[in-house]
């Protein structure tokens, strides 16, 4: 007799969780990138993933494996998660290390930089790239640079119903597309840029408020962060095509 108290694990829910895991260098979902190539769902979940090349940074691979393990483990009914990294120069070390819950620097003793420092650097870049998109959306919505640099976190509210963000500036409400703003706020919170509701919404790469005369310069810097990420994404995508062709990854 099946126990009433054990919730069944739903494949869509697992995929949703996996979709929230990003390739930290590209700031894109690993599901969207087609990295997931095997998924078994039940109280014991098994996820197999493959990266564009066998030489992808072990630190990046490690972060993705840990994020998969941690986010899927949180689902009700999941008792165990096994992650397998395939076709990588360090696939055994990473697979075993992550499934055994060992720390990165115990597995890779010769790494000179901890995995969290690498993650912080990449997250800061992702925040800049997302800031570029959010600011572009606000410029398109009619805000001027001075209004944009003056915004505080409290000035923005999200309405998922209408898929709009409402921005209050100088007593006026302006509407912008939801997604670039929510994506930005998520990463800004994660990176500690937004802690207090009264914090400035946008800051420089160094994390300080933007002076109106510095707006353009900062905007150009965030644009280059965006170009770098999508450029690197194009390298990975081309390598992935060269290595595997276009099969049917899970979730696409």
């Amino acid at each position: 007799m099946a126990s009433q108290s054990t919730p069944t694990v739903d494949r869509t829910a697992v995929l949703d969780r996996l979709d929230s895991v990003t390739d930290p260098e590209l700031d894109r979902s690993i599901v969207e990138l087609g990295y997931i190539d095997e998924l078994c769902v039940g109280p014991a979940v098994f996820v197999r993933f493959t990266l564009p090349t066998a030489w992808c940074s072990p630190a990046f691979a490690w972060m993705m494996a840990v994020d998969i393990r941690d986010t899927v483990s949180e689902l009700p009914g999941v008792e165990r998660v096994t992650v397998r990294l395939a076709d990588h120069m360090h696939d055994e070390e990473i697979t075993n290390g992550v499934n055994e819950g060992r720390p990165f620097d115990a597995v890779f003793e010769d790494a000179t930089e901890g995995v969290e420092a690498v993650r912080a650097t990449l997250d800061a870049k992702a925040r800049l790239a997302r800031q570029y998109r959010a600011v572009e959306a606000l410029l398109a919505a009619g805000l001027d640079p001075e209004q944009i640099v003056g915004l505080r976190w409290t000035d923005v509210t999200f309405d998922p119903e209408t898929e709009r963000a409402a921005i209050t500036t100088g007593g006026v409400v302006v509407y912008a597309p939801l997604l670039p703003l929510t994506e930005y706020v998520d990463k800004a919170r994660e990176t500690g840029v937004l802690l207090d509701p009264d914090d400035r919404l946008f800051v420089t790469p160094e994390g300080i408020p933007i002076a109106p005369e510095a707006f353009e310069r900062v905007h150009h810097r965030t644009r280059s962060a965006k170009t770098n990420m999508t450029g690197q994404g194009a390298v990975c995508e081309a390598l992935q095509d060269a290595r595997y062709g276009r099969d049917d990854p899970i979730g696409q």
Binding site: W55, P58, A59, S224, G231, Q232, R243
Partner: protein, 347 residues
């Protein structure tokens, strides 16, 4: 010589290799991984009809190289950038001494660059020897190269500064640090371009040509290069984007032209990673989209392309293009391949 819209374009390919990754030469598994990784890059960014088989790719030899560059590839001159990797390959992957054989056979066609590594024993003497033997004007540096327990070195370290001083003293003015894709990027340091900043400020008499424009740290590179008058960008790896990611190529060029300007970018095929016979026309025909031109306030005119494809590198290596063109018109290679006056327009 390439012909574009009625104009002659001098092609100075600033990044070529003559490597040996034959199985006999590999004495560490890293050597096999390295050439496999190169081959992935080759197939990922080469049109299918131009792709090589892996055996050819491992070791193609000097005759094929000369044909590929000068007979079929529009290249007027090439700059040898060595890659030693002596921990992986018994005789080295692509050393200055190996490259020298071809460079001394065709001195008008090749510039031969050397290398240094501050971790070498008696490295300063080795550098002097390269200058004495070959009169090198530049060095290619791999700061991320692993050696023994070391996971690389920094260009702004006291040890590296000793070598840069020696370069200045010997008149080795062109420093080409590799800042781009790397085989074992275990540490972020491998991509870090920050060390170039300090070195460039401390040695204003030297030029720093950052190979692969810092990919995947293009943004950091642009920011540093914009502030340092002696920092340049080498386009190897970025150039083949023009083939299968033309929009992305436009965006990267937009950034580079915006931050560095048209006088500080150098074309390089990275031969044999990619071949100039298809890459040169592809880059020469590349354009920014109207949106990109508007966004970055720059465009890829023929004049700018001429700078990128040859004039900028010629300036750094004191090559007088007009004089050189005359010399090359009937040199051994032009005679051998009947290049002289009978070239057909390629566009």
């Amino acid at each position: 010589m390439y012909h574009h819209e009625g104009e002659d374009v001098f092609i100075l390919d600033s990044h070529v290799h003559l490597w040996d990754a034959s199985e006999e030469n590999i004495d560490h598994e890293g050597g096999e991984q390295f050439i496999q990784c190169f081959y992935d890059y080759h197939t990922a960014f080469t049109p299918e009809e131009h792709q090589w088989d892996l055996e050819t790719y491992r070791k193609y030899g000097p005759e094929k190289m000369v044909r590929d560059l000068f007979r079929d590839g529009y290249v007027d001159m090439g700059i040898f950038q060595p890659t030693y990797l002596t921990d992986f390959y018994a005789e080295g992957f692509n050393t200055t001494d190996q490259n020298a054989e071809l460079a001394t056979e065709y001195p008008e066609r090749f510039v031969l660059n050397g290398q240094f590594d501050p971790r070498d024993d008696a490295g300063l003497e080795k550098l002097e020897r390269l200058k004495d033997d070959y009169g090198i004007r530049g060095v290619k540096l791999y700061t991320a190269e692993w050696r023994g327990d070391s996971k690389g070195w920094r260009l702004d370290s006291p040890e590296a500064f000793e070598y840069l001083e020696k370069c200045a003293e010997l008149g080795i003015t062109n420093i080409h640090p590799h800042k781009g894709p790397t085989i074992r990027p275990l540490n972020r340091d491998a991509f870090d371009v920050a060390d170039v900043d300090d070195a460039a400020t401390s040695f204003p008499e030297l030029n720093f040509i950052v190979e692969h424009v810092g990919l995947p740290r293009l943004d950091d590179f642009c920011f540093i290069a914009a502030q340092e008058p002696n920092v340049y960008g080498g386009l190897a790896v970025a150039a083949p984007f023009a083939q299968n990611r033309p929009r992305k190529f436009g965006e990267i060029m937009g950034e580079l032209l915006f931050w560095l300007g048209e006088d500080k970018l150098l074309f390089g095929s990275d031969y044999a990673l990619w071949e100039p016979d298809w890459l040169v026309p592809t880059v020469m025909n590349a354009e920014l989209t109207p949106e990109q031109r508007e966004e970055y306030g720059v465009s890829l005119t023929t004049d700018i392309k001429k700078k990128i494809m040859g004039e900028n590198a010629a300036r750094l290596y004191d090559i007088d293009i007009e004089e050189k063109t005359q010399t090359l018109r009937d040199d051994a290679i032009s005679q051998q391949f009947d290049l002289g006056e009978t070239e057909t327009a390629a566009d």
